[in-house]
């Protein structure tokens, strides 16, 4: 178990460092510039240097904050993320605990993120932070519903919450082929769940400066940052399991296939970010309740009907 924990922490940090580098490279090349080039080969070690700098920074605690809550928030955002890795099946053997409610565990713990955002925003005693926190809660509630419903249509087809069972059910054809609408809805909701652009309303920098983490500095801010990228990895991993056949592939070992698919989805999410402008807050909520949720329900009903008929 301890080995597993160390493994997870190592994976989380390396993955976050890689993703930040990847994000910067993707952004740079979309914008016709090279991105980080100085530290390491093509700036590969740039994020390591940045992380070291972040650790060396002074942790500033403003006077008027609600201290216990303020200090707890970065920890609360990070812990559930570690738990999520318990059930992700990287390959048939490489899975820490193959729980029979795996997918439920992931959705349950990933909703905890919003609690910590609320704590951070409220305790910071900053108007911009409160705005960010309130927006974040409304957004997460609105987008969790379609996210769960789309996942439910897959679970209906498989008949199990177990992630390995879901992968096993895709031995002939990936679910993305059968359920393209569900895949699209899932990707949109996942982007919103991880507060990524164009749904980055809680930290909309041109309006709220930095949103809920305005008052955090040093490694406390680093933890929020780390959690964001790890969350991105988790939602992409779940998308891979649900729609892209998990570790399934040819020639290359299963783990490699799994990671290729995960990073492909992450690239897609990054591609969104560097293309679209940000939605307005009320449009975002309207979009969730008037478009995504009805579509998700229709998709679920059609799936249920199809299962009943055939």
């Amino acid at each position: 178990m301890i080995v597993a924990l160390i493994g997870v922490i190592a994976l989380v940090s390396v993955n976050a460092l890689f993703l930040i580098w990847m994000e910067r490279k993707v952004a740079a090349h979309i914008q016709l510039r090279p991105g980080p080039m100085e530290v390491g080969y093509h700036g590969a070690l740039q994020t390591v240097a940045d992380a070291l700098k972040l650790m060396g920074k002074e942790l500033i605690t403003p006077d008027e904050v609600d201290r216990p809550v303020y200090l707890l928030a970065p920890i609360i955002i990070f812990l559930p993320v570690l738990v999520l890795f318990l059930v992700i099946p990287f390959s048939p053997n490489l899975i820490i605990r193959d729980l029979n409610v795996g997918i439920l565990l992931i959705f349950a713990f990933s909703s905890l993120t919003v609690l910590s955002i609320l704590m951070a925003g409220w305790s910071s005693n900053n108007k911009y932070s409160v705005f960010g926190a309130i927006r974040s809660i409304a957004q997460n509630i609105a987008y969790e519903i379609p996210l769960l419903i789309t996942a439910m249509s897959i679970i209906l087809m498989v008949g199990s919450f177990k992630l390995t069972d879901i992968v096993a059910a895709q031995d002939k054809v990936w679910f993305v082929v059968i359920q393209p609408l569900a895949f699209l809805l899932y990707i949109i909701c996942a982007t919103a769940e991880t507060n990524r652009a164009p749904f980055d309303i809680p930290e909309a920098e041109s309006e709220l400066v930095a949103g809920f983490h305005t008052e955090y500095s040093g490694m406390r801010f680093g933890l929020f940052f780390l959690a964001e990228y790890t969350n991105m990895f988790v939602v992409s991993a779940v998308a891979t399991v649900l729609f892209l056949g998990g570790w399934r592939g040819w020639i290359l070992p299963p783990v490699v296939w799994f990671l290729i698919k995960v990073y492909a989805i992450i690239f897609l999410i990054m591609w969104f970010r560097w293309t679209f402008p940000r939605l307005r807050f009320d449009q975002l909520i309207t979009f969730a309740w008037k478009v995504l949720i009805p579509l998700a329900f229709v998709n679920l009903l059609v799936t249920a009907l199809a299962i009943k008929l055939f």
């Binding site: 108007k127 164009p198 041109s206 940000r278 307005r280 449009q283």
Partner: protein
């Protein structure tokens, strides 16, 4: 500041600026918020005050030239032009035709640079990062072309009383023509990436509507006025320089919302390209400086007002001369200042996100407001 304390406790104050990512400078807007809605607001200006008008009283006419490029650094050549125009009218200096053509070409190039920068920075306000870099790629071309003839890349000090400082060469003309083709090939990409984007349309359609009456009441000029459907452009309504020789349109909007202002600016860039093209075709030979411009300029006693169309609207220079080498008083009528005055009325009862979108759509240059 001027606002009354909240009548009910449900409102609170939010200080937007002077250091805030979307005020583009040191503008502060005091907002009285009712949740995410703005109940009242008050722009507070003056953080970047540099006393440009007072400086003019202490300097000779020539010595004031470099100041103009710093009032509005984004469309510096229009400011050069406006001031030179006023002094030339005051002192009765005739500008040779070639110099006028060069003035128009460089000034229109600068207008494109200014609009491109607005386009990019505005998308940045709305949360899209990438168009900003694409615009800067294009803008870099303009700046390179202007660098070749004016010697600087931002705060130009190129126009002189009676002409321009340096002549343009063939490489400049070739660069201009290459740039015209290049920018025209980019419109399609900008359309696909931004103009047709459903998120962008939702953010800008029917948001921040300026009615024509409001615009006239507040003295709004430039693309903001034309977005409201009033075809007022100094280049047409009070022609200066050689603008009457060229065939170009004044794009106007219908509804007066942000989208209309955006479309007006994009169309204006295309019209500027047309003007440059025609000017390059008709470019006459001849001197670039008027003869007999005295080194110590001493205009006769009198007053003069000259207006030019800058990227943001009407830029007017009002000079009072007492027959000295230094102006007695200079008043700069800057478009951003008048355009900013309408903001309180527009952002009442809108969301913070809309406020940012509306503020950005004015294309404010804060040093110009503060002077």
């Amino acid at each position: 500041m001027m606002l009354e304390p909240g009548i009910e406790e449900k409102t609170f104050y939010l200080n937007l600026g002077p250091q805030h990512p979307s005020t583009h400078g040191v503008l502060r807007i005091l907002l009285e918020m009712d949740g995410e809605f703005i109940a009242n607001s008050e722009p507070v200006i003056g953080y970047g005050h540099r006393a440009h008008e007072k400086m003019a009283e202490l300097r000779t006419y020539q010595q004031y030239l470099p100041n103009l490029g710093r009032v509005d650094y984004l469309h510096a050549l229009a400011y050069n032009h406006g001031y030179c125009l006023a002094v030339e009218r005051l002192a009765g200096i005739e500008v040779p035709e070639r110099a006028e053509f060069i003035r128009v070409i460089t000034s229109e190039l600068n207008r494109i640079a200014s609009h491109l920068l607005w386009f990019g920075a505005y998308l940045l306000d709305l949360g899209a990062f990438t168009p900003f870099l694409y615009c800067f790629d294009d803008r870099e071309n303009v700046v390179d072309i202007l660098d070749r003839v004016t010697g600087s890349r931002l705060t130009y000090c190129y126009f002189r009383f009676g002409g321009v400082r340096d002549d343009i060469d063939d490489e400049f003309i070739a660069g201009c023509r290459a740039f015209i083709t290049r920018l025209r090939s980019r419109w399609q990409d900008y359309d696909d990436l931004v103009t047709k984007n459903v998120i962008f349309i939702n953010r800008t359609r029917d948001v921040g509507i300026i009615t024509p009456e409001q615009a006239l009441k507040y003295g709004v000029t430039g693309p903001c006025l034309r977005g409201s459907g009033i075809p007022y452009d100094i280049r047409r309504s009070e022609p200066y320089s050689v603008y009457p020789l060229f065939d170009f349109e004044i794009p106007i909007g219908e509804r007066g919302d942000i989208m209309d202002r955006y479309v007006v600016r994009l169309c204006e860039m295309e019209q500027s390209l047309r003007i440059i093209e025609q000017a390059l075709d008709k470019l006459p030979n001849g001197p670039i400086m008027a003869e007999k411009v005295p080194k110590r300029l001493k205009p006769a006693e009198g007053e003069v007002y000259a207006a030019v169309e800058s990227g943001r609207g009407e830029f007017g220079t009002y000079i009072v001369s007492k027959g000295d080498t230094k102006p007695y008083r200079i008043k700069l009528r800057v478009p951003s200042f008048s355009n900013l005055s309408i903001i309180s009325e527009l952002i009442k009862d809108t969301l913070v996100a809309d406020m940012v979108a509306i503020l950005g759509s004015f294309d404010l240059v804060i040093p110009e407001v503060d002077r």
